[in-house]
């Protein structure tokens, strides 16, 4: 029995699958439940363990549509959420269908009452209720259509009358030059107009209009309450009572379809939750319909062999469509940046970091620095890693962002991976602090430079050497009035990190150790190597300062060395260096210094340029301290 319980708990556990868009959905599901009910991951997991069905068939659909409303700046009645929690706590249901229906009619339909009424009272002109054949449109056709249209007609007459009589005044109120078609917004503006500077005749007419409008609202309210919430019997009038929802992301998908009536909406939502593909064909395939990052069924390149079917997934991920529907909730919208999500292979870790990111939302949005999101994300990743001590989460970390994602457009979609190698190096405090700097590397015009944030380039796997080279070059060529000082620390760390990574990769490539066990262990030794190299190389390279006590001489040598590095001419570099050492003020640099040049530059074909640049930096640094 104990074993069975354990198995059940495991099966219920929310965890990532390894497929990023399903995982994004799982994270979105967790976010959604937290936003609506205030449950964090731990509590949600507990609730699922206690009663899985109540969470997925009861709490979820309501939360999903609550979020839909609040995303569209519609009011959500918090009392309703409280009531739902109470009712679901105490009530027991025979099956999931009964549970879902209960939530649908009593809570979801209640939730959408205002929006539905608004959508139906938006009809200003009666003739728009008819199609070309003069038949009542399907969406309006129901048992009391005549009464409804009569009320609409009366309001229309009144609007026309007011418009004719008080044209000029109304233009002023609506701030329009000409009155053409009267829209619902105009109606709202008019009946809510409070300024006293209108004629009493118009005021009376507006009062009358308000009354008529309220009459329609009350009529619709009664219809909804009597027929939908209380009676729940409206089979033929289902389309009239359609819950007015749509989605750019899930265009026409199941319950978002404009031609799905209230009951159809209910059933297809239920079928989506329980993954009932016998009833809903659309649930059989996973393609662009459910996720805009996927191609459409026709575009799938392997379609000639097999269709990508959702069927086999049912056993593994019972609530697949719940998660797929929650995909967008995994992303947080940041003004000026777009929708951003941090993803790693661990749910808890990803959840924590995304939650922390939200805390910094204001700071990120208010900053003019577009890199801040990256900066903050990185800081949160490091903090959480230290906190959880789960360095294995370092594998497969991504920041996924997009600006717009719907049926037609996928704008500015970015998928930035954080490689494990770079991530594990950045776990070291000293390295991270030194790389977490922006340095100038190119002159745009007088007193204006291009800057680069080192950590960002590093994480993207781009070489740091060209940036450091640019910075050193800029420092060397800056004039006295506009002196740029050398950022020695960040440059030293960047060069040493890069040189050691190159050597590390070269060594591993030769050993073909990529898939061996040593590969991961050697990461640790890599950090040790880097730090040791920083200590030794910064000391030995600094000895070059003794080459001359004259700043100009040192600058001349630095310039010659830099030119050799620029043309990647190792011969010229060594020739200049050794000739100047040989003819300098002193000869005795100590054999250790020459050993260092031998090891790091002569013998080294992989990264000699980095050590060469380090020597140039020391020549410039020495110059500064002498001044």
């Amino acid at each position: 029995m104990a074993e069975a319980t354990e198995y059940l708990t495991q099966a219920n556990t929310l965890k990532f699958t390894g497929n990023w868009f399903i995982d994004a959905g799982i994270l979105g599901f967790v976010n959604l439940m937290e936003e609506v009910y205030g449950w964090n991951l731990e509590i949600l997991q507990k609730k699922i363990n206690e009663d899985e069905e109540k969470v997925y068939y009861g709490y979820f659909p309501f939360a999903y549509l609550c979020k839909w409303l609040s995303d569209r700046k519609q009011k959500v009645n918090s009392e309703l959420i409280k009531k739902l929690k109470e009712e679901l706590e105490k009530k027991t249901f025979q099956n999931t269908k009964e549970l879902f229906d209960f939530v649908w009619f009593n809570f979801i339909c209640n939730l959408f009452k205002e929006l539905w009424i608004k959508s139906k009272s938006k009809l200003i002109y009666k003739n728009e209720a008819y199609d070309k054949k003069n038949k009542t449109k399907q969406t309006i056709d129901y048992k009391n259509t005549q009464t409804y249209l009569q009320k609409i007609g009366e309001r229309e007459n009144l609007i026309n009358e007011i418009q004719d009589k008080h044209q000029e005044e109304i233009k002023k109120i609506l701030k329009k030059r000409e009155l053409k078609k009267f829209e619902y917004d105009d109606l709202e503006k008019l009946i809510n107009y409070n300024n006293g500077s209108i004629s009493s005749e118009l005021r009376n007419s507006i009062e009358l209009l308000k009354e008529k409008h309220l009459g329609i609202i009350n009529f619709l309210k009664e219809e909804w309450e009597n027929n939908v919430i209380n009676q729940q019997k409206f089979t033929e009038e289902s389309l009239f009572y359609r819950i007015p929802i749509d989605s750019g992301f899930y265009k026409n998908f199941l319950f978002f379809n404009n031609f799905a009536g209230n009951l159809k909406q209910k059933d297809s939502f239920y079928d989506a939750i329980c993954f009932n593909f016998d009833k809903e064909e659309i649930l059989k395939k996973i393609d662009k319909t459910v996720n805009k990052f996927l191609p459409s069924e026709e575009e799938f390149s392997n379609i000639n062999y097999t269709k990508l079917s959702a069927e086999p997934l049912k056993k593994q991920i019972g609530y697949l469509f719940v998660y797929l529907l929650c995909f967008t909730h995994a992303f947080e919208n940041y003004r000026n940046i777009g929708y951003v999500m941090f993803y790693s292979n661990d749910l808890e870790f990803s959840y924590k970091i995304n939650r922390k990111l939200k805390l910094y939302k204001k700071k990120i949005e208010n900053s003019k620095n577009a890199n801040l999101i990256f900066n903050v994300t990185w800081q949160q990743i490091i903090d959480s890693l230290v906190e959880c001590k789960s360095s294995w989460s370092l594998e497969n970390m991504y920041i996924i962002s997009y600006q717009q994602l719907d049926n037609k457009t996928q704008r500015n979609v970015e998928y930035i991976g954080v490689p494990k190698l770079q991530a594990s190096i950045l776990l070291d405090d000293a390295i991270r602090e030194n790389l977490n700097k922006s340095i100038s590397y190119r002159k745009v015009k007088e007193k204006q430079y291009k800057w680069q944030w080192l950590i960002q380039e590093f994480i993207k796997g781009k070489p740091l050497y060209p940036i450091i080279f640019g910075h050193v070059n800029l420092t060397l060529n800056s004039d006295k009035n506009n002196k740029i000082s050398l950022r020695y620390g960040p440059c030293l760390y960047s060069l040493m990190v890069e040189a050691n990574i190159l050597n590390f990769k070269n060594k591993n490539n030769k050993k073909s150790a990529l898939f061996s066990e040593i590969f991961f262990d050697s990461y640790k030794s890599l950090i040790r190597d880097i730090k040791e190299d920083i200590r030794f190389s910064s000391f030995y390279s600094s000895l070059i300062k003794q080459i001359s006590s004259d700043t100009n001489t040192k600058n001349r040598i630095a310039r010659e060395l830099l030119n050799a590095l620029k043309t990647k001419d190792k011969n010229a570099f060594l020739n200049v260096l050794l000739k100047d050492l040989n003819g300098g003020e002193m000869l005795e640099f100590g054999s250790k210094f020459y050993d260092w040049v031998f090891e790091k530059i002569i013998k080294n074909e992989i990264s000699y340029e980095m050590y060469g640049l380090l020597l140039v930096m020391n020549l410039l640094k020495g110059g500064e301290s002498n001044e």
Partner: protein, 115 residues
């Protein structure tokens, strides 16, 4: 490439059993020059650097061999090394070879007798 003979630069690539060992070459140079005077070494280094700059391998070996053409026991190791590796090399191999010798000489500055 015949198995009987492979050039040192091919050995650098690691195809043969023998591989050009720059460390050994440098150590042999240090051993040879540690007792020479700094002035002589400074001049020698200057001349050698000129030849490397022009990739003049013939001149490089000519100057070097002339310098160490002395009946001194300390030069024996370097003789041995040069005997092993002396041949025409591609520029990139020659650079490493020649600079290893030069750095070997330079690292002995201050260790010899000054005339």
């Amino acid at each position: 490439m015949s198995e009987m003979h492979s050039y040192s630069w091919q050995k650098v690539e690691g195809t043969g059993n023998e591989k050009l060992d720059l460390q050994e070459l440098k150590e042999a140079t240090v051993e040879s020059f540690k007792n020479e005077s700094d002035n002589a070494k400074q001049k020698l280094v200057y001349s050698l650097l000129e030849t490397i700059r022009n990739n003049d391998q013939k001149e490089f070996f000519y100057i070097l061999l002339k310098t160490i053409n002395k009946p001194k026991e300390s030069f024996n190791k370097l003789w041995g090394e040069l005997q092993k590796w002396y041949e025409l090399m591609p520029e990139e191999v020659f650079i490493n070879f020649a600079y290893s010798i030069i750095i070997g000489i330079m690292s002995t500055y201050g260790g010899g007798k000054n005339e």
